[in-house]
Structure formats: structure tokens, C-alpha cells
């Protein structure tokens, strides 16, 4: 995400078009735990706390660490935050703490945290990183709260413990498997919304999680495919609707061999690679001609 983007543009890109749950399929298991609005709110708050603390520490102190040490550090920081949150929850609502303790634990190794820290936090300024983290957290929390609300409403006819639809309840929606179904339909709605109102983000919704260098100063490999792939994807292009290929990354974000980790089946990909190679060869030929002629 380039710098100097407004907050609204970041929101459109990172929270909506590249929603961490619906498009990037990160932290799906914690969303499956949100059976009620109360649990969803608790997990959202817990996630935000862990996320902001980890990304701040990564941005300020971990930019030059080895990648695997950073991965361990993210888990360690997340664990300490989870411990604090669980102790606070036990004091406020012991029953809720018993039911959600396992899921708060899982947030310590959330893929969203690692993705953001490896892709953004260690590469940009603190302000940029914080803005990006805010929009990503909003994208996650929105889906989490929505799913939790829908599940509680449909399975118990209640919202935050208050009965709204008496004598109504479908036991199916109390089961975690129903979350996947909901996420599927929500993802479809998101795709319809983007295709209709956000044409510039059609490619983002259809695809990929791009790789990123670990350190800002680290040069990308010569054969790395540029993030936009040079491929032109039309809004109604069938090739844009391939299953996103989350390549080598989570929780350790970087794969320096970008070529090997690109998927084979997406039709736009080989064309983009050929384009990159052709343009490089053309450039070399041009340079040779220019300097040899001179």
C-alpha cells in the first residue's frame, strides 16, 4: 500500500477490497468461535489490543531482526497480551472467560498480525503502519461482530442476551460450521459490492496476497514478479475469479523466490511473467544498441 494515501482510501483497500477474513482467509478459526455478539465483541477487543501492541513493537524495534526471530516475537508478545486479557476477563465475567479463553489464546498467533507486521509495520513509518493497522482491525472486527450477531440471532433469537425473536432458534447456527457458510455468502456479497461500486478494486478482490520483502533495504530478486503482475484484468474477466493463491507466507511473510511461489493455474500469471521477461530483454537490447552504437 503506497504511502500518502488517505484514511478513506486505506479503508477501501485494506478493510473492504482486501478484507482479512473474507478475501485473505486469515484468522478464520477465531471467527468460527464467535457464537454470540458478546463473544464476538470480546474477541474483537482482544484482537485489537494484541494487534496494536505487536505492530507497534515490530515497527519500533524489530525491523532488523531475523525473520524467524520476529515470528517467535510476535507469538510471544501476543501470548503476553492474551494472558492479560484473560486475567481481566476472569475478573469481569468468569463464565465468559472459561468459554473464550481458548480462542483468545489463538489470537496470539493470528495470521492478520503476522501479515501486517511483515508486510507493513517493519517497512514503513509508524504513522503509516498505525493507519494501516487501524483499517485492517476495522475490517476484521466488522466481520467478526456481524457473524457473531447473525449467529446469535439465528440460533437463539437473541442479541447480546436480549431476546428479540421469542420461540425462534435454529440449532445449526450455533455450530461453528455455520460460520463458514456465512463467510461464503458474505464474501460473495463483498464481491458483488466491489464489482458494482469499486471497479478499481476488482483485481484485489479476485486474487492474491502479494509478497513483500522483509526489510525495506533488501532488494527484490531479479525474477520477482511485480505486485500488479502487469496483467490487465477486466471486471468481468473470468480469470479474475480464481481462488486467491496465498503464497508463501503466513505467518512468515517473505518468500524471496517470488517466481516459484506464484500459482500456475491463474491464466494471467504466465502472461505477466512473459511480459516481464520480454520487457527486460527488450530493455537490454535497447541498452546494448544504444551504448554499442555510441
Amino acid at each position: 500500500m503506497p504511502e500518502n494515501k488517505s484514511f478513506w482510501e486505506r479503508l477501501q483497500h485494506s478493510a473492504i477490497a482486501r478484507n482479512p477474513i473474507l478475501i485473505q482467509m486469515l484468522s478464520v478459526c477465531t471467527v468460527m468461535a464467535a457464537g454470540t455478539l458478546k463473544v464476538a465483541l470480546l474477541l474483537s477487543v482482544a484482537f485489537c489490543a494484541m494487534f496494536f501492541v505487536t505492530q507497534t513493537l515490530a515497527n519500533l524495534f524489530m525491523t532488523r531482526w531475523k525473520r524467524y526471530f520476529r515470528a517467535a516475537a510476535y507469538a510471544a508478545v501476543g501470548t503476553l497480551c492474551a494472558l492479560g486479557i484473560m486475567l481481566i476477563t476472569e475478573k469481569i465475567d468468569p463464565e465468559l472467560a472459561v468459554n473464550t479463553g481458548v480462542y483468545i489464546t489463538m489470537l496470539a498467533v493470528s495470521g492478520i498480525t503476522v501479515l501486517h507486521c511483515e508486510k507493513t509495520a517493519i517497512n514503513v513509518s509508524f504513522r503509516e503502519s498505525l493507519q494501516e493497522s487501524v483499517v485492517r482491525a476495522l475490517g476484521y472486527c466488522f466481520v467478526m461482530v456481524l457473524v457473531g450477531s447473525l449467529r446469535e440471532l439465528l440460533s437463539f433469537g437473541a442479541l447480546y442476551g436480549h431476546v428479540i425473536l421469542p420461540d425462534f432458534g435454529i440449532a445449526f447456527f450455533a455450530h461453528p460450521a455455520s460460520t463458514l457458510l456465512m463467510l461464503g455468502f458474505l464474501a460473495a456479497l463483498l464481491r458483488i459490492f466491489v464489482h458494482r461500486y469499486g471497479q478499481q478494486y476488482v483485481q484485489e478482490v479476485a486474487l492474491k496476497i502479494s509478497e513483500t520483502p522483509v526489510l525495506a533495504a533488501q532488494p527484490e530478486p531479479a525474477d520477482a514478479i511485480p505486485e500488479d503482475n502487469g496483467a490487465t484484468v477486466l471486471p468481468d474477466d473470468e480469470d479474475a475469479d480464481e481462488i486467491p493463491r496465498p503464497v508463501d507466507y503466513m505467518p512468515l511473510a517473505v518468500d524471496e523466490d517470488a517466481t516459484a511461489s506464484q500459482p500456475d493455474e491463474i491464466t494471467a500469471q504466465p502472461a505477466a511473467l512473459e511480459e516481464t521477461q520480454q520487457s527486460f530483454e527488450e530493455l537490454m537490447a535497447e541498452l546494448r544498441q544504444r551504448y554499442l552504437d555510441e
Binding site: A75, V102, L180, E242, V254, D255
Partner: protein, 200 residues
């Protein structure tokens, strides 16, 4: 029942009856993402199985110490995390020392993904709740890893099928929506296998 038989029973139960990925959603995100990467399939699943078995075994061994066993659940979290992080760093250092080559960075990334994921992280908690002994914890961890491999295989088959029949899928449902719905249907199938009632 002998110890070996019990371990086999626990492992089979964890793989087929109480598949943590499909029935509980643990590691589902990782499974969905890795299922689209055929090259890393077996290596990742093998590493995850190793980490899950080791992690649950070591944690179960630690909790035989009365002082640790008496700790509240919240305080067991950092202990489990420390065990996992130590295991992860030991494996990374071992690989780094043995290979001494930069190209192993990709393999180290795979190790990180296999070790630091929600399924492996949560197994010691679930093992303690089930009051497994050392043998049971080992079988439970191993079974969870194999269950993850099974989930990967099933999801990979689904990915292939979705890719092949892309033209038949409505435009809005192509990509992640189809994958989510496929996972949901398979989860429901696993839940039905266990015998749970979904529509009471």
C-alpha cells in the same frame, strides 16, 4: 486396554471422529490457505504433525510437576507458548546449523508456518482438558497433525474441483466464497459423522 491400544484409539478418534479442523475450526484458516499450494502440502503437514506431537508431549510432561499442574488455566498459556517457541527456535537453529545455506530461508518459512499456527498452539490446552496422560497426549498431537493433513487433502480436492468447474459457478461465488461454502459442507458432513444434531 493397553497403553498402545489406547494411543491408537485416541489418534484415530482425533483424526476421523473429532477432526479438530472441521468440527472445531482450529487451524481452518491455515488449512484453507495451504490447500491452494500443492508444492508445500506434504512438507507442511509433516512438520505440523511433528510440532503438534512434540508440543503436546512436552507440555503434558511439564504438567506432571505438581506446582505447574496447580496453576490456573490462564497461567498455563505462557507456559504452553514458551514450550512451542523453544521447540520452534531449536528446530530453526538446527536447520540453520546443518544447512548453512541461505536458500533454506523458504524451508525456514515453512517451519514457522507449521509451528506457529492456531492448531498447534491450542493442542496443549485441549489435551489438558481431556486429561490425557503422556501417551495419550502424544497420540492426540499426532492425530491432530494427521487430521490436519486429511483436511488439507479434502480441501485440495475441493480447490481442484472448484477450479475445474469455474464456469458453472455463479460469478459472485467464484474464488473464496466457493471455497468457504465447500469447507462448510464438509464440516457439516464431519459433524454428521460424529452424530451431533444440527437442526433440533
Amino acid at each position: 486396554m493397553s497403553a498402545i491400544t489406547e494411543m491408537i484409539f485416541i489418534a484415530l478418534y482425533t483424526v476421523f471422529i473429532q477432526n479438530l479442523v472441521f468440527t472445531g475450526g482450529f487451524g481452518m484458516g491455515e488449512a484453507l490457505r495451504i490447500a491452494t499450494k500443492p508444492r508445500r502440502f506434504l512438507i507442511f503437514a509433516g512438520l505440523l504433525t511433528g510440532f503438534s506431537a512434540l508440543d503436546t508431549l512436552v507440555c503434558a510432561a511439564l504438567y506432571t510437576i505438581p506446582a505447574l499442574d496447580a496453576l490456573p488455566t490462564a497461567y498455563q498459556l505462557p507456559i504452553n507458548a514458551c514450550v512451542l517457541l523453544v521447540l520452534f527456535l531449536l528446530v530453526v537453529l538446527t536447520v540453520t546449523i546443518i544447512t548453512k545455506r541461505r536458500p533454506m530461508d523458504k524451508f525456514l518459512s515453512t517451519i514457522g508456518m507449521a509451528a506457529l499456527n492456531t492448531l498447534v498452539f491450542i493442542l496443549p490446552f485441549l489435551g489438558r482438558r481431556s486429561a490425557f496422560g503422556l501417551g495419550g497426549a502424544l497420540a492426540f498431537g499426532f492425530g491432530a497433525g494427521v487430521a490436519f493433513l486429511l483436511a488439507l487433502a479434502v480441501l485440495r480436492l475441493g480447490v481442484n474441483r472448484i477450479m475445474e468447474s469455474k464456469a458453472e459457478i455463479p460469478h459472485a461465488f467464484r474464488g473464496t466464497p466457493a471455497l468457504f461454502i465447500y469447507s462448510a459442507l464438509f464440516s457439516l458432513a464431519m459433524v454428521g459423522l460424529v452424530g451431533e444434531t444440527l437442526f433440533a
